[in-house]
Symmetry: C2
Subunit: 118 residues, 2 copies
DNA sequence: TAAATACTGAACCATTTGGTTCAGTGTATG
DNA sequence: CATACACTGAACCAAATGGTTCAGTATTTA
């Protein structure tokens, strides 16, 4: 059985599920920024913004470094390729789902669910 | 300023952030299934699986209907197009981020963050 | 009609999340 | 050297998550 344990995808999809964090990515796409300036732009405390940055960093979407007292944030080099790959692969399943209408009937006839469950 | 409020994306990325739910999508890509059979396959209580299905349904990724006492689940017709679009759009920003290295230096020279924050 | 099946809903639980405040620490700057 | 600035960390909070159990309801089936 396939091991449905894909921590990196867990982390990055979770990171992308917050509109503020998607906004941060969009913002960093236009150039680097400090945590303070991001906190200003997104009307949030510095501590709150730092937490968002940490989530994005753990997901590998953002990279930061500190010079003096300023921590600068940019988009990470890992990018969104793994996420794009998962989505593209499974998009095909959605498109092909009408071909599976026969399966619905056959599964319903089996009255115990499907055989891959046994 | 752009309104960073995109509830549909919030819901679907959150739905995709769980490995079990990604597994359910993969499974439904191979044909419809009842909640009970999914609960069996993913070694979970029926109630637990029902919750996952509800999350996927609210995100528009799964559609269900009940015939008799059996609720059948399939992939939704909305698909993953909105998610794919967001990812593809922002993937370019990641790829272009090296072009922004000059910005980093200029922003650091501004010593107050960046001007779009003012 | 009695028993089994498939789901539904409520309640509970521990953990995580998204935010805050407050109290530091280290770095520039006047 | 004193003050301001940028961040860090701890503590707290309400709400959401991902699971469970237990007690129904509705539908088949023997």
């Amino acid at each position: 059985m396939v091991q449905y344990l894909d921590l990196p995808l867990d982390l990055s999809f979770a990171a992308l599920s917050d509109a503020t964090r998607r906004g941060i990515i969009e913002r960093l796409g236009r150039g680097a920024a400090s945590i303070t300036s991001l906190a200003d732009q997104f009307q949030m405390t510095l501590t709150g913004m730092k937490k968002h940055i940490q989530v994005l960093e753990r997901a590998g979407l953002v990279v930061t470094w500190k010079v003096g007292r300023v921590r600068t944030c940019t988009l990470g080099n890992r990018g969104l390729s793994a996420e794009a790959a998962w989505i593209e692969t499974h998009r095909k399943l959605f498109e092909a789902r009408f071909d599976a209408l026969d399966d619905i009937i056959s599964e319903m006839k089996q009255e115990g669910g499907d055989d891959s469950a046994r």
